[in-house]
Structures are given as C-alpha cells and as structure tokens.
Amino acid sequence: MSDLQTPTIEEIRLYAARHGLQGLPEDQFARLGELAQTVREAGLALPRMPSKEDEPAHLFTMTAPRGTK
C-alpha cells in the first residue's frame, strides 16, 4: 500500500471543487488529502470475492418467518 501517493493540496482542492464541497475550513484540506490515502488503502485492503457471482450482503437478510428461532 505504501506506493500510493497522498494527493497534493491542489489535487484535493480540485477533487473537492468538482464534487461540490464548499466551506471546508482552510486548515482541513491537508487532512482531507491524508484521509484520501487512508481510505484508498482501506479499500484496497479488502479481500475481493473469488467469484463474480458472489453477491453483496443486502440490508434486510436477517428476517426470518415469524415463529422461527
């Protein structure tokens, strides 16, 4: 993961502007860039499922017919 580059301040400003972020305190842009790298690393660290047929867990799968346990 260490070969991932933290975005430059300019890159993160452009990304923020492109996605409509307004009013972020000026001192937070550097942190936004650091977190961009942290999030990218976390995403890449997730093991990928082996089959294209492995579906996501949907939100409402825990329900069972009334009376079951």
């Binding site: 937070q28 977190l35 995403g43 997730l46 990928r48 499922m49 939100l59 329900t63 069972a64 009334r66």
Partner: protein
C-alpha cells in the same frame, strides 16, 4: 398522594433509590412500597446534585417526568399496573426522537430541531409505564472518527468511576447515567460498539440484539447496515426486562424482523449446565492489543461459566479481526457520508472534528470498495454464523482496554478501535457486553457474550449465570 415516603423506601432497601436496579424498584413499586413520584424525585435530585460534573444529560425533562410519575402513582393502586417498567425512570441517547422534545444529536447542526414523532423504542417503554427523564449526551450524530476533541456544543460526558476518564462512545451519556445513578436504565445505539463500549468502560451490561430485533424507527441514522438500538442496564435481569418491552416487529422500520419474541425472563435463571460456550481466546495478531487485566478477566469468566456447568470449547473466528474491521470502516464511512452529504458539502465548519473527519473519509470512498465491503460482509456473516451455530453461545473479548484518560488523548481512539465489537455489527448476531470485574485502578473490565440469530434468550441466560456467580454488582462508583 398516598405513596410511601422516601425515608421508608430507603429504610426498606438500604440502598439509595438512585442505585436500585430496575428489578428491585419494580418489586417495590408493584407491591406499593415505593412511590413512582418519590423515585422520580430521587433521580431528579441526583441529576441536580452531580450532573454538572458528570455531563450525562443534554436535556432533562423533569416536569414531564413528574407528571408521568403522578399518573403512574394513581394507576398502580387502582389496579392498572402495567408491568415491571411501570414507574421506572429511564433516559435515552439524544438520537432517539421524542415528539415535542428537542433532538440535538449532540450537534450544532440540530440545535433548533424539535421532534414531531416518537421513536418506537421510547413509545414502547412509555406504553409499558416507564418514565422518561431526558435525553443523554452523545458523540455528534452518534458517530465520529473515534477521537474526542472537546469541540461539540455540549461538554463531553465523564466516566463515573473516574471523572478524568472517558465513558466510551458513542452512547457516552447512557454509560455515565446508568453507572452514576442519574437514570435507572438507558437506551443507546450501536454501529461498531456504541452500546457495548460505554457499557464496558462504565461497568454495565449493554446489549446489541440481533439486527432487526429492536426497532430503529425515528432514531437518527448513522449507518443503515450496521446500526442497532438497545439497552444499557446495571444488571442482566434489568436488561431482560427492558428488552422484553422494546423487542419485536415494527412496520415503521424497514429492517425490522418479524420474529416472535420469547419471554426473556422465563429461562433467565436456568443456569448454564450443559450449554456449550465457544471461547474465542485467540484473536490473532489484532488480539495482542488486549490488555492484561481484560485478558485475565476473560479467562476467569470462562472458568466461572465452566464451574457453573457449561462446556467450554475453544474456538476461533473464521476470519482475521482485520477483515471485520475493514468491512465496518468502509461501509460506515460510505453510508454515514450518504446520510450527511448535504451538511458536509455546505456547512462542514459547523461539525465537530470527529464527525468532519468521518465525512472527509466517506467523501473519498470509491463505489467499488463499498461494494467489495458488502460482498465480503456476506461471506463473513455466513462463516461466522456457522461458528455461532456450532455452540450455544460465544465468550469473546469486547473492548480491549479500560476507560482511557482525557489527559492522554492518544489512548482514546485505540479504546474505540481495539475491540471485537464490530464483528457482530457486521454479522448481526446478538452480543451483550458484561462487566467482568475491575482493574487494579478500579476501572471496569468487560467481555462479550454472543448468541445465535434471535436467541437473545440464551445470551441473557449465560450472562445472568455469570453475573450471579461473581461479585461485580456489589460495587458502585462514588461521586
């Protein structure tokens, strides 16, 4: 009003009214030996006496509570006793809506918000006769990045065992209030451990039931996939009583499960003889962070259950703890961002640093990574469920550390991050944090008892057996 006096109730119980358990108070109220008005007055006096230091409440609804207590006081002797919660004072994290009361979510973004609907859980408690004392302190919107920055509109709640220590988050006021006796029980919410971590840090029993068991309707959302609601109590039996009232299908909550609710107290005292308890002693590399006192208490808990007749079988989780944590992080960042996107884009300066940093994380998540997390989650649910179904219950660490000190801020985030609580937000299994004693400094220790889907009954039964065999409920914080 003809109810018995506070002095009489004190004399009868030899315990200050604010430190009675729900079970004890219920017996006294049901038999006419304790007045609900007297009890509510005792709690309001306790709040008045200590909450300026404790900071457990955001809003105290004293007049409303006294009116409800007077109503209960008239109903009970007239033969209209509603059950074990009738006349029992409680409070809720300030992310549960109650019609006619403000909901702040602990946030500057909601300081003017007045709720026009009542959360199902609160409505069910009030229908059972419980009396709301107010709204409790919380991390902003019940979430954050794990840190505490002292930058929210309400001062952070303090741990009653040591006011210099953190309560655990995010249900900070819930943990503080029940331990300190400013509420007899409380409701919190739990996305990665936010019921169980304050329970752990404050020496309580905190229950995150099966996903779908307790309604989330009319509570502020944090992360739809992982959010749960539930009680923090002093005793396991109190927890069973509260769970009885709040559990069950709610058509107003799209994630609610239509599964029958058993009588949680029916087998509560049946013991653990013959039950197979899967003991997760080895948590891999991440488990090395478990501190010595909690590790020893976990071993001791296994021995206590074995001495009660349980069959202890050592087991391991089917995947590294890191996988559950990664899934939690990516899903939580993404869904929370989706909920708060407009506020983040337009007025992030009003957010505290903890929520703003979480939003900055969510702002950067790729859709492919979110879906990778939800796909991995499905495989983790299946594999973990196979493990849970191979036993009657699991015994596993919860929070790895005791409550951190505010003057050592670098230890606050690890308290939130170094846990095995997120495992059961990912899988949806019921998980109860139990107090397993105290470290040499007097701070509470903890472990989790976990059950099969919708088998809260066995979780409570195991926890009750442990609690009854240990002396931890005989100690209270001094404030």
């Amino acid at each position: 009003m003809n109810g018995p006096s506070t002095a009489a109730a004190f004399a009868e119980t030899a315990t200050p009214l604010h430190f009675l358990s729900v079970t004890e108070a219920s017996r006294l109220i049901g038999s006419g030996r304790l007045s609900p008005v007297t009890l509510v007055e005792a709690f309001l006096a306790r709040i008045e006496a200590i909450d300026a230091r404790l900071k457990s409440y955001i809003t105290v609804t004293g007049t409303r509570a006294l009116e409800a207590a007077q109503k209960a006081e008239a109903e009970i002797p007239a033969g209209r006793w509603k059950g074990p919660l009738h006349g029992i004072p409680f409070a809720v994290k300030d992310n549960y809506h109650v019609a006619g009361l403000p909901t702040t979510g602990g946030s500057r973004l909601m300081l003017d918000y007045m709720a026009d609907a009542t959360s199902t859980a609160v409505a069910r408690l009030e229908a059972a006769g419980a009396i709301l004392l107010g709204k409790l302190n919380t991390w902003e919107y019940g979430t954050g990045n794990g840190g505490v920055y002292h930058d929210l509109p309400f001062e952070v709640a303090r741990n009653p065992w040591d006011l210099a220590c953190f309560t655990g988050g995010s249900s900070t006021g819930a943990g503080a209030s029940v331990a300190a006796g400013t509420a007899m029980f409380a409701l919190g919410s739990d996305t990665g451990g936010s019921i169980r971590l304050p329970a752990a840090a404050c020496g309580l029993q905190g229950f995150k039931a099966t996903f779908g068991r307790v309604s989330r309707a009319h509570c502020l959302p944090n992360c739809w996939t992982l959010d749960h609601t539930g009680p923090l109590t002093w005793t396991v039996e109190d927890n069973a009583i509260v769970m009885q009232a709040i559990s069950g299908f709610d058509p107003a909550d799209p994630s609610s499960a239509d599964v029958a609710v058993p009588d949680y107290r029916k087998s509560l005292h049946a013991g653990v003889k013959g039950l197979v308890i899967g003991f997760v002693r080895d948590l891999g590399a991440e488990g090395e962070a478990l501190d010595d006192a909690n590790a020893q208490a976990l071993e001791d808990a296994a021995r206590v259950l074995e001495a009660q007749g349980a069959i202890i079988r050592e087991v391991t989780l089917p995947a590294p703890l890191a996988h559950y944590r990664s899934v939690t992080k990516v899903i939580n960042w993404s869904e929370s961002y989706s909920i708060h996107e407009q506020d983040f884009l337009e007025r992030s300066a009003l957010m505290g640093q903890a929520l703003r940093e979480k939003m900055m994380s969510g702002f950067n998540v790729r859709a492919a990574d979110y879906l990778a997390a939800t796909r991995l989650r499905r495989s983790l649910v299946d594999a973990t469920d196979a493990l849970v179904r191979s036993c009657d219950a699991l015994l596993i660490a919860g929070a790895f550390h005791v409550a951190p000190r505010f003057d050592a801020p670098d230890t606050v985030t690890p308290f939130t991050a170094d846990t095995a609580t997120t495992v059961f937000n990912v899988t949806g299994h019921p998980a109860l944090s139990v107090c397993t004693g105290y470290d040499p400094g007097g701070l509470p220790l903890n472990a989790q008892i976990v059950g099969r889907f919708f088998d809260e009954e066995t979780v409570l039964r195991v926890a009750q057996s442990y609690e009854a065999a240990t002396p931890w409920r005989s100690r209270r914080p001094t404030l």
